[in-house]
């Protein structure tokens, strides 16, 4: 009982002061000193075991949360954003086509809405019930329903040849651009922050430091105890204590190794997984935005206006080297590099076509401009661009998942084996000192 008390920090109450004095008094006698040493070593051993368990499970929980919740949430929120932007673009193109909506566009719009709705449902599962993210998910769920109702009304009117259908479509687009997309951006941003925080939670740096400190203290205590014993007795070595020291060393080295591996994998997941994913997502959103700008400029029939300026801004960003699209992707993965190079080339090709579209429109050839903008050639280039970016995202997603899994792999070992090793250390330490204590009985 006293041993357990000695290992605890002293709460400064009167009664405890008495206990402390009694325990402190032990140090004046040899057996007392040995009892104190037993208490110290066993206490440090138990503490290390406890910390190993806590560190392991906390890092494990953080890593799991990162892999199973925060990162998927980021992917979902990006999917929502992209699906909404694409739905808006598709609706505008279908409008430009005139007459009945082309089947391909109707299908794509429906697929977009389905994607957005599915992603919203799973994002709702991954966001805490209160807070900004949950608020954004709620607004988006309500807004997407309203948006699809507006588009449905637009289609019904269009089918009857009523021009008011167009006005419904523009109302829907306004809702999409002014309300839904900003909310999706908010969610996306929140998810990015959660991933950032997720990395620090997975690192469990505080627990780790405590664990390493306690192991270090245990090692030092063991070494000093043996020095004390070898001076007090004529035995140079105390075998159980040596065994305890060896175990502690194994424990320490193992812990350091597991944590170093975990940190390395986390760093790779962050630097080569999450980071590139963010910039590929940005490329994808920007390309969709450019396509939307083109369609909206034509739909407005007012010549090159603010949407065209936006297109120029997007184009500058996507062709800038070191930007989200043109970057050192090849250094991460040769296949990824090839995919992104191809995407960049296709975007340049699309930008060239876009220039022709604008030239036609600005020269009063509106119908030709529309035909070129939504024609098969342009659609083919753009669809290839989209699927390349999708593939690039998948590539990084797979990389991230693999890294996170590897990061979590050794942690279970630490959680289970750490406390066991610590118990072993305690047992040996107790055995080694107990033998000396017996000599005083």
């Amino acid at each position: 009982m006293t041993t357990a008390l000695a290992a605890r920090p002293a709460p400064g109450t009167q009664r405890n002061a008495g206990v402390l004095r009694r325990v402190g008094g032990l140090r004046h006698t040899s057996p007392g000193r040995l009892q104190l040493l037993i208490a110290l070593l066993v206490g440090l051993g138990l503490l290390s075991g406890l910390l190993a368990g806590v560190t392991g499970s906390s890092a494990r929980a953080g890593t799991d949360d990162l892999g199973d919740r925060a990162q998927p949430l980021l992917v979902e929120s990006e999917a929502i954003y992209a699906a909404l932007a694409d739905a808006d673009t598709t609706a505008a193109q279908a409008f430009l086509a005139g007459g009945l909506e082309p089947v391909a566009l109707t299908r794509r719009y429906d697929a977009d809405l389905e994607r957005a709705t599915t992603a919203l449902t799973s994002a709702a599962r991954r966001t805490p019930a209160d807070g900004r993210a949950a608020e954004a998910v709620r607004t988006l769920s309500a807004g997407v329903a309203q948006y699809s109702a507006l588009v449905a009304t637009a289609r019904a009117n269009n089918r009857q040849g009523l021009p008011v259908g167009v006005s419904y479509l523009s109302e829907a687009s306004r809702l999409n651009r002014d309300t839904l997309q900003p909310q999706a951006r908010e969610l996306f941003r929140g998810a990015q922050n959660e991933v950032e925080d997720g990395y620090s939670a997975a690192g469990a740096a505080g627990w780790m430091a405590l664990l390493l400190l306690s192991l270090l203290a245990l090692l030092i205590a063991l070494v000093l105890t043996q020095r004390y014993l070898s001076r007090r007795t004529n035995r140079t070595f105390n075998v159980p204590l040596l065994a305890a020291t060896a175990l502690t060393l194994v424990f320490t080295i193992g812990t350091i190794a597991i944590l170093a591996v975990q940190q390395a994998h986390l760093d790779r997941a962050a630097g080569q997984g999450s980071g590139p994913m963010a910039s590929i997502s940005e490329s994808r959103l920007l390309t969709l935005q450019a396509r939307g700008d083109e369609a909206l400029t034509l739909a407005a029939r007012a010549g090159s206006g603010p949407y065209e300026e936006d297109f120029a801004t997007v184009q500058a960003r996507l062709t800038q080297s070191g930007g989200p699209m043109v970057n050192q992707y090849g250094a991460l993965d040769s296949q990824l590099g090839r995919t992104m190079d191809r995407a960049a080339k296709q975007f340049r090709q699309y930008a060239t076509i876009h220039k022709d579209v604008r030239a036609l429109d600005d020269n009063g050839e509106y119908d030709k401009a529309v035909a070129l903008a939504i024609g098969p050639e342009t659609s083919k280039v753009f669809d290839e661009l989209r699927s390349d970016l999708d593939a690039a995202l998948e590539n990084r997603k797979a990389f991230f998942t693999a890294e996170i899994e590897s990061a979590g792999s050794g942690l279970g070992l630490l959680t289970v084996l750490g406390p066991l090793l610590a118990l072993g250390v305690c047992a040996f330490a107790y055995a080694g000192l107990r033998a000396r204590l017996e000599e005083y009985r």
């Binding site: 040849g161 167009v166 962050a270 007012a302 949407y307 009063g364």
Partner: protein, 322 residues
């Protein structure tokens, strides 16, 4: 870790920057800077200067000697400039049914106003198809004509003394008047019965100014274009729409639950707007209108677009004082 943070920041900066410059219009509205929310209860902007009294219907007299033949415009005239460019740029809207709206089946913009533009193009080129339609916002009709971004505006535009200060108007090609559209179930008999109720009209139109002048104080709600008013009406955001009877008739035709009530409470004479720098073009346009009134073209155009409202009246008489 650093790479990630930098990328995230860059991504954010980019999306925010883009968010800042993506305009808040739907794909089909005509302006990129329309207010997102309705200007409920907001009085229309006061006239910048009190317009001197004038006869808004009086325009510039056509040149004696008749029209030049198509494809042979007089040297140095603005018509010559248009001819050399190869197309006439017409500023109009794309959602004013019967006057200038997009045919959902063909995607073409058509209507009475567009035909007015086509007739001018035909007089210049001998081909009505040499027309480029540029959609402009209602509140940009005066400035677009004045600054030369379009050659001519035909967009249910009322000639009035205030606008005469900034642009030239052709002679009147259509006489409209303001009425009000309400739900079939409404008991209102005229705009006065809509006191305190929300009445929608297009921003920058004379209609919204007239709504604000009604004594019983209906609440004017401004939308960028009239199509948005019909959407707001069908979604029960406003109780009525008030503008020229012809435009309302086009809306009522699309909504069996709407009706147009009361008598015309204003006169809205429509004319085409032309920049003050090209009086010779205004005279030319008036000569074309003159000819078309006489040879039955105007009547044919009326019957084509507005024939459902009854037989064609006689075309508005041209008045000249300049």
């Amino acid at each position: 870790m650093r790479i990630r943070a930098v990328l995230a920041v860059a991504a954010l900066a980019a999306t925010t920057a883009l968010a800042a410059c993506s305009g808040d219009t739907g794909p089909l509205s005509t302006t990129a800077t329309q207010p997102r929310t309705d200007a409920v209860g907001q009085a229309p902007p006061a006239a910048k200067k009190a317009a001197p009294a004038c006869n808004p219907r009086a325009s510039l007299r056509p040149e004696p000697g008749g029209l030049p033949s198509p494809g042979d415009m007089p040297a140095g005239s603005y018509m010559r400039t248009i001819q050399e460019r190869g197309r006439l740029v017409l500023g109009t809207s794309q959602d004013t049914l019967l006057f200038s709206s997009r045919n959902p089946f063909t995607g073409q913009i058509e209507g009475f106003d567009v035909d007015m533009g086509r007739q001018i193009a035909e007089a210049i080129f001998g081909d009505p198809g040499k027309l480029q339609i540029k959609v402009i916002a209602y509140d940009k009709r005066v400035s677009s004509a004045a600054d030369g971004s379009v050659d001519i505006v035909a967009d249910t535009m009322t000639a009035n003394c205030e606008r005469w200060q900034d642009v030239l108007f052709s002679s009147i090609y259509y006489e409209a008047g303001q009425k009000v559209l309400v739900s079939k179930t409404s008991t209102a008999k005229s705009i006065e019965d809509l006191g305190g109720k929300k009445v929608c009209s297009a921003a920058g139109s004379t209609s919204i100014e007239n709504v604000a002048k009604v004594k019983t104080k209906p609440i004017p709600v401004a939308k960028a274009v009239f199509g948005d008013c019909l959407v707001a009406f069908q979604r029960n955001e406003v109780d009525g729409i008030s503008t020229d009877d012809t435009i309302l008739a086009g809306m009522a035709a699309q909504d069996p639950y709407a009706k147009v009530i009361g008598d015309r409470f204003t006169d809205e004479p429509y004319a085409m707007a032309i920049s003050k720098e090209h009086p010779e073009f205004a005279r030319f346009v008036n000569a074309v209108l003159e000819r078309n009134r006489a040879d039955g073209t105007w009547k044919k155009t009326y019957e084509r677009w507005l024939g459902d409202f009854g037989a064609a009246p006689s075309p508005p008489k041209a008045q000249y004082d300049k």
